[in-house]
Symmetry: D3
Subunit: 232 residues, 6 copies
Amino acid sequence: MTITPNVNIHAEGSCQIDVGRTRILCTASVSDRLPLFRRRTGLGWVTAEYAMLPRATQDRNRRDGRGGTLSGRTAEIQRLVGRALRTCVDFATLGEYQITVDCDVLQADGGTRCAAICGGWVALAMAARHMNGIGLVRRNPIIDQVAAVSCGIAGNDTLLDMDYEEDSNTDVDANFVMTAAGQIIEIQCSAEGVAFAKDQFDGMFSLARKGIEQLLESQQAALAMPSEHPAE
Amino acid sequence: MTITPNVNIHAEGSCQIDVGRTRILCTASVSDRLPLFRRRTGLGWVTAEYAMLPRATQDRNRRDGRGGTLSGRTAEIQRLVGRALRTCVDFATLGEYQITVDCDVLQADGGTRCAAICGGWVALAMAARHMNGIGLVRRNPIIDQVAAVSCGIAGNDTLLDMDYEEDSNTDVDANFVMTAAGQIIEIQCSAEGVAFAKDQFDGMFSLARKGIEQLLESQQAALAMPSEHPAE
Amino acid sequence: MTITPNVNIHAEGSCQIDVGRTRILCTASVSDRLPLFRRRTGLGWVTAEYAMLPRATQDRNRRDGRGGTLSGRTAEIQRLVGRALRTCVDFATLGEYQITVDCDVLQADGGTRCAAICGGWVALAMAARHMNGIGLVRRNPIIDQVAAVSCGIAGNDTLLDMDYEEDSNTDVDANFVMTAAGQIIEIQCSAEGVAFAKDQFDGMFSLARKGIEQLLESQQAALAMPSEHPAE
Amino acid sequence: MTITPNVNIHAEGSCQIDVGRTRILCTASVSDRLPLFRRRTGLGWVTAEYAMLPRATQDRNRRDGRGGTLSGRTAEIQRLVGRALRTCVDFATLGEYQITVDCDVLQADGGTRCAAICGGWVALAMAARHMNGIGLVRRNPIIDQVAAVSCGIAGNDTLLDMDYEEDSNTDVDANFVMTAAGQIIEIQCSAEGVAFAKDQFDGMFSLARKGIEQLLESQQAALAMPSEHPAE
Amino acid sequence: MTITPNVNIHAEGSCQIDVGRTRILCTASVSDRLPLFRRRTGLGWVTAEYAMLPRATQDRNRRDGRGGTLSGRTAEIQRLVGRALRTCVDFATLGEYQITVDCDVLQADGGTRCAAICGGWVALAMAARHMNGIGLVRRNPIIDQVAAVSCGIAGNDTLLDMDYEEDSNTDVDANFVMTAAGQIIEIQCSAEGVAFAKDQFDGMFSLARKGIEQLLESQQAALAMPSEHPAE
Amino acid sequence: MTITPNVNIHAEGSCQIDVGRTRILCTASVSDRLPLFRRRTGLGWVTAEYAMLPRATQDRNRRDGRGGTLSGRTAEIQRLVGRALRTCVDFATLGEYQITVDCDVLQADGGTRCAAICGGWVALAMAARHMNGIGLVRRNPIIDQVAAVSCGIAGNDTLLDMDYEEDSNTDVDANFVMTAAGQIIEIQCSAEGVAFAKDQFDGMFSLARKGIEQLLESQQAALAMPSEHPAE
């Protein structure tokens, strides 16, 4: 896994994340336009959008949303990414700003929702640091770190970070989102045809925890690189 | 919880499910029009749609989908219901038919996605039995039974089947979908602001398992009632 | 015909109306959000929405509005319901409130537009009485009572309240909306293939008038039932 | 009222109808593409579309349909025009062809739906005659003639063919569609605020009948003009 | 070419332009509702909309925009018309008003975008003069005159103002928008299959310049006709 | 300017083009699904789609097309790119295949439509060569090379390849698309407020021709790099 920060000259925070052959461009954009339900509350908001370029996949797909409807899959993923990232932010410290994290999949080979959370957090943390650096907020509103990893069960094997081909052959497909302290933010776990037992779930959980520790380190390494944002 | 079967004269299977003050009308409709990817495969399909009446909720909501976009929440729930129900069906036995399960929330007070799965399974099982009764399929294509229950953590308490007000005050919100044999079909578990530990997850899991056993019995009781479908 | 009031815990007024095998859930929702053309006029507004559940009909229909377009039939019916209900309301007394009457057809077997007007009026009257009860308006803004009935001509027979099968065989299809005093609010009358004479129209009118008298009584009976709305 | 035939070089039938200051361009287009429900039935179909140019009205309106939704009013009117015109056609004689009648309001000053029916019938009859002339059908499929007129009640007066200003001041607004023999095709009659009595309805009916006789003559005069369609 | 002014009783400026067998109705509508980016700037705006009636063309077309999507061709043409007309207006003199120029093609036979610019300018100039006449602006905000002409290359010939059939056989298709002083506003020039040389371009340019001079005269003649607008 | 080929593992042809700080990802996708008008003609088709990532620009933009409408600007650009690329292909040699060229702007700083044509041609040529390599076509269907460059006039200066800031200050904005032999494919040239003279146009044309020669060389250099496509 590689996280390359500062890949966009306009965004307040940005990175490209490569996990296997999956590649996602993540940007975090700061705006003072809040959604209606947050206006005049003193609190900020974080939202996420997720999209795939048409040829991110083996066969070309129609651009999602052209024609008016967002696929259920896209809607579900961007809601997950938004929820995961919001747990890391102190909205009172953020104040009346919205940060929009865009995760655009340039190339997909399995695990895009987890990679979007990992890269999205880096972009978000960079944007938050930048806001602090230029004085928009008094202190950094980031209060936790999150990463996400996918697991699966194929026959008797428990697998981590499956690529597209492995993923297609699993009986169970799971995503774990956790914090730096190993606490759980979100679990999504779904049998593909064959139900599974609690023991098997616990096996995936242990494996996921180890995988997440490595991801947390990569995120910190990316954040530690010198920032080139022109405004700082 | 109450499940009232045969509430619609047109549908091949139907029931009304009341869980607390949540009330959902579930119908299962049989059709020989398959989605494109299933045509000429010899296999059938099950799909679900979920919708709320505008005043199912405390404040009136806009009808979802009018204006062209389905909310992310609706898309996510109907995908979950469809996945859960598909695990119970042998598609080769079903043959080239599609069963569409519609779950329309007449009144909402928490837990609608779990109630939709429980009621949806009853409607689906009735439609499958009806197809068998009139000879559309050689034997009943239902191969398993599923039920779903919601759990939550509020402070130190683990709660089952929360109504809307309890749900609003939980720190963790989880949905468990399981089979008659206690195997897992799907877990969705999400922290609202505060992350949680594996122990707490295990506590919810045990509670959910007990809740699901009662639901499975109610489903069987509803199915055992005399069927009034005109076609049988 | 049966009208069951108080079928929804959230709505300011609600009833379920069963006419033959047609069943409609009607709710009336009070809001202080007025349409643009009524803002700052001192006058209120009443609007109606009409929808069919997908399996309300013999064959399953696509959910109307998903995909962005409302069918012409739906648009026409909800405009009719709204117009009919607005004639019963003194908008100056109502003040700057909007009441939205939702008519959701749970099961259809002919005559849904007339049943929607009859049930919609009961829900509207309950909501208006409730507003008066809790002091939102100084007196009840309902100034008239309306009911609606469908008639048809099949060969030499004039029929009242046709079910779906009778309706499919009529040469003329008519809807009459009238007040408690027997005055006309709206007439819609349409030949299906064969034109008809003024005498035949007059025959339908007489029949309709008798049918409407019974409907007015059922509406009053439903309104006289003890109200269970929690806010009163 | 003036009807000018042959105002479009492409359409199989066309006319411009001027009623007062209302001006509508009507074209009838022949196609061998039938709607799904008519294919391989040996029967044809007639459908109508109605639209207003943005500045047909006193204030400029948004183009109807841009943005995806057809207004309820437009949907209602084009359904009415289609129904009225279909009563005049023998679909077995028409064979597997569809005639689409487009009624585009260039300038509106009241009564557009009635003018659209009157002009639409002329365009339809021209297209049918043209089909017969070039041998697409063995004989003319037009079996009746229809015209439509609007009436209103303002205080104690019954009015015919109101312009926009008169129309705005009526208490009752009615449209009558009748055949050459004086039979009724459709009645739409609606109180604006104040209900009305059967006597008043009968007064409007008599007035409408007289108005329609004049319209039928104008339609025949337009049809009798020499046709300039290049294909004949 | 003929330009007939004052063809609409409601619009502040209007004309019908006939170029060959192409016929377009142009109206200019004045409004004090500005687009967001112009509000409170002291500056006005001019925008254009372009549409074809369904049977403006040899075969009937679907109404553009019904169903939610504007075709690329329509979007491109109305942007061009808007840009061309905006170059003629002093927005500070216009003040906070928007003029919307609607160009509706009643009948098409080639060259509609150029005809829309020519007729649109006349409607715009009439509306601007009208605003001045009734005192909405202190002086006429029109500061220049524009006309547009189409050219093409077919084999060795350079053609002006091609009709639809000629246009279908050209190798190069060009549109020139110019001012009264012969300066260039816009050039669109596109090879259909075979690329072309700079010399050929220069030939088209000379021809276009001559064509535009005649158009400018016709526009002035139309503007010089007595205005019948009721408000003056 | 840099063109990096082979940036996507799935696409039959792909490159990333960097012009100044503008960065576009271009992929070419081969499919045997032709648009309706090309089916069973023996001829292929080339189409293009263009989109900007939301934070490609200085301020974040809404995703184009979500909500159902494509902006006019996007529609116009992707039509231009498609037209330009189609002039380079012999459709009889291509046979019944469609190549879709997607141009996704990762970062924008002026000149995106010209960069999309330059990069799009490289992706297209790679896909065509790949089709030839694996035997889908008997010989390479690419028959010409195109490049595009933007020019502008700012005061007395004629500028090539303006970045966003320069572009905002020009009086005239032009795009030239030319072939390897210096022939013209397309000219788009538009005054922003002030009209311009033919001499000035000729100055831009000469400058553009020089710029295009360099672009043609860069395209050839990218094509000459070793191809890494797995299928070859």
